[in-house]
Amino acid sequence: MIEIQNVSKRFDSASGEVHALRQVSLTVEKGDIFGVIGFSGAGKSTLVRLVNLLERPSEGRVLVDGTDITTLSKPDLRMLRKNIGMIFQQFNLLQSKSVFQNVAAPLVLNKVPKKDIDKRVKELLHFVELEDKIHTNVSKLSGGQKQRVGIARALATNPSILLCDEATSALDPKTTDSILELLKKINRELNVTILLITHEMHVICDICNKVAVMDNGRVLEQGTVLQVFGNPQHKITRSFVKTVIDDSIPGSLAREILEYQGENRIFRLRFQGNIAGKPLLYRISAEYHMENSILFATVCELQGVVFSVMIVQVFGSAQRLDEVQQFIEDSGVYVEVLHLTGGEEDRND
């Protein structure tokens, strides 16, 4: 378990003090795949480095399995680091060495006998499916293969925590998926708690069960991926959600809707779980006798939960529309009213 409590981090720079983290708190439970998402400069890279103290907090505490690691002596800190694997965006492998030598490095540092190193490295390369490259020089590998070497190296000492610093950001989409699959396998089969940082929402959707959204050194919101994804509170979170489900209305359609003179209202509906199956729109027309048309609809699955977004135009008087809106809210569906302005859309919240 990782607990970050009220941590602030300041750097001195030529242009004065830079606040990389401001009063950040978050808790990663054992077995989580916890994702931190934010644009570059949001402070997520500093955040992930708190956990193995590559960055020391200016204020606040960092607890790993209940121990305040900021108070550890240097030898104890090195012991802790051997229990925390880390992988990097640029892989950070020894370019002059072979795959074997890279994966063996943490074991050599621990003075593991040579015979045991051989066995362990083969085991690890089998796990990351790179056995055939054992004697290849790492500079001859592709990006995805390099990250597999990085992962094997990070797992060499059987850590209980794995930190991923933008581990897939330098990879193409297909390779990214295979690495994400591997991370899932590590979490599931080896019971490794994973803390990853990324700027890609689909990484969060694909493998994380929890997420924290960061901007300008602060954690804006955090919770399960379903909570945050289903009911985003901040503009930045919405923009990240939008990268996975783009539910904006095309400009031409928006102009057409604007030209319509009759009374109507446009709702964005977010369904989650079994609600997704309920005939909501049918009931609007059958029970409220109001016409409606679907402008946009999409559905995806997050950790086995069906998640769908629909944009619906409902026609009727303001009073009737209020009733319908209340009905939708009462059905447990998250609803927003959209105001279209010449192709651009604004939100009323």
């Binding site: 090195r78 680091r81 880390m86 990097f88 950070n92 492998l93 020894l94 002059s96 060495k97 490095a105």
Partner: protein, 222 residues
């Protein structure tokens, strides 16, 4: 033959070449033994280094700058009392070696420093994340990653050292460069001067060629 054309005996030429090799070899060995650790210290104690230490860094940094500011020929004379203490004499090849080590050590420190600074910071970070001790970071990560560049740095240093050995003739250090200066240049013996310069060119080509070869061999594994 040689005597007739160049005005010196072939024996003198062989002795001079031997002296040059002697000064180069020991200058390089002793200079490396001092210069490489100093270069490592400079790298790890600088701001952001794995053992950041302002006092140590500033001290080494300024000392190196000061020693490097002194022209070699002045350094040669200035450290004579120290030379006497170390090797018991102020003149001769051994005495010259002391001053050569003084000359080459700070030079090599800087070359080693710049080679080590080329190593990707990410690799050092990965090493620290593995729980490596500072010595392990240097030995298992910093030096292996910089090896190809270090070999080229040492090659540059060796050729710099060769240039300095010529001036060591001023205190009787001998060597090929000294032949060119005292017999060739000062006695207007142009054929000798040209011949010795050719020998020096051969030396430089051999050193650079060897350096390039070794460095390439190390890097081709990359």
């Amino acid at each position: 033959m040689i005597e007739q054309y160049l005005g010196i005996t072939s024996e003198q030429m062989v002795i001079a070449a031997g002296q040059t090799v002697y000064m180069l070899f020991w200058g390089l060995v002793l200079g490396s033994l001092l210069g490489i650790p100093l270069g490592i210290l400079l790298t790890i104690t600088r701001k952001g280094g794995i053992l950041q230490n302002k006092v140590v860094y500033t001290l080494i940094n300024y000392t190196i700058n000061i020693v490097r500011s002194v022209p070699y020929i002045i350094l040669l004379v200035a450290i004579m009392p120290l030379t006497k203490i170390i090797v018991g004499t102020r003149i001769g090849t051994q005495a010259a070696l002391v001053s050569l080590v003084f000359y080459i050590t700070p030079f090599l420190s800087r070359l080693v420093e710049s080679s080590l600074l080329e190593v990707d910071k990410g690799i050092i970070e990965a090493a620290e994340a593995m729980g490596a001790t500072p010595v392990q970071v240097i030995w298992h990560f910093l030096l292996p990653e910089a090896l190809g560049s270090l070999i080229l740095s040492l090659t540059t240093g060796t050729i710099g050292l060769l240039g300095a050995t010529a001036m060591a003739g001023a205190i009787g250090g001998g060597g090929v460069g000294n032949l060119a200066l005292t017999y060739g240049y000062q006695q207007f013996n142009t054929p000798l001067m040209v011949a010795t310069v050719i020998v020096l060119i051969v030396f430089v080509q051999l050193i650079q060629g060897l350096g390039n070869y070794l460095s390439k061999r190390v890097r081709s594994r990359e």
